[in-house]
Subunit: 225 residues, 2 copies
DNA sequence: CCATCAAGTAACCGTTTAGTTACTGGCTTG
DNA sequence: CAAGCCAGTAACTAAACGGTTACTTGATGG
């Protein structure tokens, strides 16, 4: 492989790309398929999603989808992986260890809730993946180390809180994260059945604010000394 | 093949009027279809469930399914309705108002967790129904009044707790129920992705016990004065 | 400027799907 | 015990599905 020639190619391609919209652009097509697939899988689940629908939403056709992603299952896994990378990347940027332990935990709770609220497709994808007992996620090699960071940083914040005497001694990082995620996930992912059976629109702004406060309150109440 | 012996058996079965197993039994067939459908919809979702699979699981064939339930969607709604009736009926039998407010709430939390644990198909059905924005549940006329009882009794217990000075003044019955349900639902319905990404088997008995305690603790901590 | 190769298209294929038709045979009632 | 109704069967259909084949078109290095 000729490196200098390749970089030359790339430079030219980039320059051309910035000057006008290429009629043929692999990266753009790939991204369009991935985005369309995310929506289709989120709205209909793995079983209900239609390959034709994804191609149409992406403004391309099935052949490209199979060309870039192999088949429906591999495309689905890519969508799922990207979704996890999305939330974990944003989460890292929080640096919850930079503040007081209480503020750090409160910050994580707020972030998680608001991320779930802004990314309903992430919740749907989790739902459909769990329906299938994490059949595809299990095959993913990319995602194991992505999550150790979260629990690690959370554990450090809790330790500091214990030393400062503000948190109870048996506060568990996994339990704290599960508590935060539970309260956000259930409220949003089950909003439709809940609103129906209880006759109250859970998605209404005042109810959302009220639940946001509740999550922070409950999370801290569960670990405060 | 011994024909006379076979017909003899059949006639005998006919004559034992009250205890005989009918070869043709609408109620038994209906029940078998409903149970098979519950499993199939829970395992594969509304989009992934196969009508042929339901018929085979029920030990009958498609024609009967369409005969008794109309079509796939109506069968699915029946399954969903029965699932709700199941949990709400068991819930009523608790009579959480008969004990002290604290015990009543703790009892409800324990019951909900253990019911979810024993009925994973209920959680799956909720998941698939919410994926479709409660499209079918909304059409159900049977279920509205089934739930007012729960919130009503919960509100009464909370009021008593407030008067006795053990609960905070702004404890909200809906929030309390959502808290309990959230912590149970998320842990169980998302156990597969969670176990995968965190590398810990959430379904292990010791972890289940630990989370059960956590739910009761968190619920009470969130409303205790 | 043109040969080449990847990007892109559309029509097609075998299979699976929800739903139907035409039929058989067991149960009840008069 | 005959008659008819209804539970139950199996083979079928049209449409939809995931995936493929045969082909065209446009960008680009030599």
């Amino acid at each position: 492989m000729d490196n200098s020639a390749e970089t030359g190619e790339k430079k030219k391609a980039k320059r051309v790309a910035s000057e006008r919209v290429l009629q043929r652009d692999p990266e753009r097509t790939k991204a369009a398929i991935l985005e369309a697939a995310t929506r289709e899988f989120a709205e209909n689940g793995m079983g209900g999603a239609r390959v034709d629908a994804i191609a149409e939403r992406a403004g391309t056709n099935k052949r490209m989808l199979y060309h870039y992603f192999g088949d429906k299952e591999q495309l689905y896994l890519r969508v799922l992986e990207e979704a996890y990378v999305g939330i974990r990347t944003a989460e890292r940027a929080l640096h919850i260890g930079d503040r007081s332990p209480e503020e750090g935990i409160g910050e994580l709770a707020l972030f998680t809730w608001r991320y779930f609220l802004k990314h309903p497709e992430f919740l749907s994808l989790l739902g459909t993946e769990n329906l299938h007992r994490a059949r595809w996620l299990r095959q993913s090699v990319r995602l194991k180390e992505l999550h150790s960071h979260l629990i690690g940083e959370l554990a450090r914040v809790l330790e500091r809180g214990k030393k400062e005497g503000v948190f109870i001694e048996n506060a568990d990082p996994l339990h704290v994260y599960l508590t935060i995620a539970s309260l956000g996930y259930f409220y949003l992912s089950n909003q439709h059945t809940l609103s129906t059976i209880f006759g109250r629109e859970l998605i209404e702004p005042s109810n959302l604010d009220s639940w946001e406060q509740h999550i922070v309150h409950v999370t801290l109440a569960s670990i405060k000394r």
